[in-house]
């Protein structure tokens, strides 16, 4: 799984800037650097967890990879082809292989379409199946995600949040994709329903050999579902490694603070814990600090951190970090 042949997706120095427009003639006055030069590989069959706080660029990363936003610069190599350079027709041919599950199960389903037509739309669009076979496929997909075939004629508002997320998952699976970007798929759900959806995603991965990029702010859930984890802060990946390395031996001070801030459902552990409380807020991505993006909140920052952007180093085997001080 970790050799180069197993790479399904390779992201190289990816940047996505959103222009800031001001004034009557909408002059461009600056950029929001949502994603500011990130590189990583996704191996076939794995789940790569992408974790970070709001505004760190994790969702933008997922959307840029699927070309829902055009890239500013950088490469996205999926199955040997650079998605950023493909024309729309070539991209359309690749779409069935890469799908997305969205965060908000209320906003991501068209309220005027029946569940059946929501799920069959991608199949019709790509001309895979028609008529009776299409209907059978929709029923099969509904059963696969734990719904009933009779649900096909109903509308999204008749379902609860967890069930709607299942509909979104059925739609993503409709074209037998290899790669799915899961963008906070459980953030809008209640705890007991979150576990149902995560278990379903794990079952589907085992059954179909799916590869996930799992985006979340929930560190405990990321640890549960991922084999490897990338931590983002202010548009950059600050640490990347196996789940064991990142959670048991975090190298970046931001990862360390993030992990120490997560509450554990155990009063005995909570009583003994020493938290690293970060000072202040995340700086604006329109005006990121010079040097290391984390230096304004880092408890260990020295002068070097304020002047130079830390290099992306493989400090331990297959465990990368961007920090001057980590060793």
């Amino acid at each position: 799984m970790t050799n180069n042949d197993g790479v399904l997706l390779k992201v190289e120095n990816l940047k996505k800037y959103f222009p800031i427009m001001r004034g009557l003639i909408r002059r461009k006055v600056g950029d929001i650097k949502a994603v500011d030069g990130i590189s990583f590989d996704v191996y076939k069959g794995e789940t790569l967890g992408l974790v970070g706080e709001s505004g760190c660029g994790k969702s933008t990363t997922g959307r840029v990879i699927l070309q829902l936003y055009p890239v500013t610069s950088g490469k996205i190599i999926f199955k040997g082809k650079d998605l950023a350079k493909l024309d729309s027709e070539a991209l359309r041919k690749l779409r069935p292989m890469m799908q997305m599950i969205f965060q908000d199960p209320h906003a991501s389903l068209n309220p005027r379409m029946t569940v059946g037509s929501i799920i069959s739309e991608p199949i019709i669009e790509h001309g895979v199946l028609r008529g009776r076979k299409l209907q059978k496929r929709v029923e099969e997909l509904l059963e696969l995600v734990g719904l009933s075939p009779t649900h096909a004629s109903r509308y999204p508002h008749e379902f609860s949040g967890g069930q709607r997320q299942r509909i979104g998952i059925a739609r993503a699976l409709a074209l037998n994709p290899e790669f799915i970007v899961c963008d906070e798929p459980i953030a809008a759900l209640d705890v007991s329903i979150q576990a149902q959806v995560v278990n379903l995603l794990e079952d589907l991965q085992a059954e179909f050999g799916l590869t996930y990029l799992f985006i979340s702010h929930d560190l405990s859930m990321i640890r549960h579902i991922s084999q490897r984890v990338a931590v983002m802060y202010l548009g950059r990946i600050v640490e990347l490694g196996s789940r064991k390395n990142v959670y048991e031996d975090p190298l970046h001070p931001y990862t360390q603070a993030l992990l120490s801030a997560v509450p554990t459902p155990d009063p005995v552990i909570e009583e003994r814990r020493n938290r690293i409380i970060l000072k202040g807020d995340v700086p604006s991505p329109a005006n990121p600090p010079l040097g290391c993006p984390f230096h304004t909140r880092c408890p260990l920052a020295v002068d070097l951190c304020r002047q130079e952007v830390p290099a992306w180093r493989e400090l331990r085997p297959r465990h990368w970090v961007a920090c001057h001080l980590a060793e």
């Binding site: 709001s54 069930q163 705890v191 995560v198 560190l219 405990s220 801030a261 009583e271 970060l278």
Partner: protein
């Protein structure tokens, strides 16, 4: 932790709140009784729609009436029944003796008032202080909750603050009259985890300094584990379990509590464990429950559960559970 065996500051008896909606009557809170002790931090946990917010909103009459209706119940605060109070009387309690922090710091501050005005408002209204005195108090409060350059920021508007800072301002408003009871309704849910850690740390510190009693409502069992002395678990408008924090996590008795704890991934879990999930959906509250509200989802359900709703039953001096499996008659 301050687990004092103090007197009861607040005693709630058989609170019932309903909402009369177009789709029928919603049974939001169905006979809830609990007490809050002096200096205690009481956690109320449950999922969306379990009635945890409506319970405390009813106490302070913050629910809209109609469509809401407090059908029954009494809530004694310093010997006076909050439920029976007139609108005028309760206004003197709210924000003065009982402070309230809401979930969403974006919508609970007034966008067209400076934060200084918003902090000074309860100080002037309840404590009758002059504008200058109130301003001094506000500066002191902002300093206390960790807002740098407090004096300069007093004349800023809410949109000039970040989410975490806005929640700090909400806390300053809630604490402006030094209340005996602070009710925090999901105060950190809208915040990122590092900012959440800051706010929890701040409230712990303020609690040590001011010694107030706190009711902390959340869906996050992790937060409760770290701050509460005692925990109430709610489901379908009922209290299903109630125990001191360590007892509850070490020895959960209600199948719902067990399910909730099992459905959480933990940072210290062994790898590749499967999450236990609670099958099915949260209850529909439009019909008055005659059976145990958790019965349709419960793995241990038997006949009695479908015939009769179990009441809270003490299984030890401080641990109560509403489950037929535990009730020994």
């Amino acid at each position: 932790m301050l687990a004092k065996n103090g007197a009861n500051v607040l005693e709630v008896h058989n609170l019932k709140t309903r909402f009369h909606t177009h789709d029928g009557t919603l049974h939001a809170v169905n006979g809830v009784s609990f007490e809050l002790k002096e200096g205690e931090l009481l956690g109320i946990v449950g999922e969306s729609g379990c009635g945890k917010s409506v319970t405390v909103m009813s106490l302070l009459k913050l629910i809209p009436i109609p469509p809401g209706e407090i059908v029954d119940g009494r809530a004694f605060f310093h010997g006076r029944d909050l439920i029976a109070m007139s609108a005028n009387e309760i206004r003197h309690v709210r924000g003065h003796q009982i402070g309230f922090i809401f979930q969403d710091p974006m919508t609970s501050l007034n966008p067209v008032m400076t934060i200084g005005q918003q902090i000074m408002e309860p100080i002037r209204a309840h404590l009758g202080k002059s504008r200058d005195e109130a301003r001094d108090d506000a500066i002191r409060l902002l300093g206390m909750i960790g807002i740098p350059m407090a004096e300069a920021r007093l004349d800023d508007y809410p949109h000039q603050f970040s989410g975490g800072m806005r929640q700090r301002v909400m806390i300053a408003i809630a604490l402006s009259c030094i209340p005996q009871v602070l009710i925090a309704d999901e105060p950190t849910t809208a915040l990122d985890v590092t900012i959440q850690a800051q706010i929890i740390d701040l409230i712990k510190q303020l609690r040590r300094e001011l010694g107030m009693s706190i009711i902390w409502i959340t869906h996050d069992l992790g937060i409760v584990a770290g701050i509460a002395d005692r925990v109430i678990v709610m489901y379908g408008g009922y209290i299903v379990e109630q125990a001191p924090v360590k007892e509850l996590y070490a020895n959960p008795k209600h199948p719902y509590t067990q399910g909730l704890l099992g459905s959480l991934p933990r940072l210290e879990e062994r790898m590749a464990e499967r999450l236990t999930n609670i099958k099915g959906q949260p209850p529909n509250l439009f019909s008055e429950p005659t059976s145990c509200p958790f019965a349709p989802r419960c793995p241990y359900v038997f006949e009695r559960c479908l015939e009769e709703n179990p009441a809270l039953w003490p299984i030890s001096s401080n641990h109560k559970v509403a489950c037929w499996l535990e009730i020994k008659e």
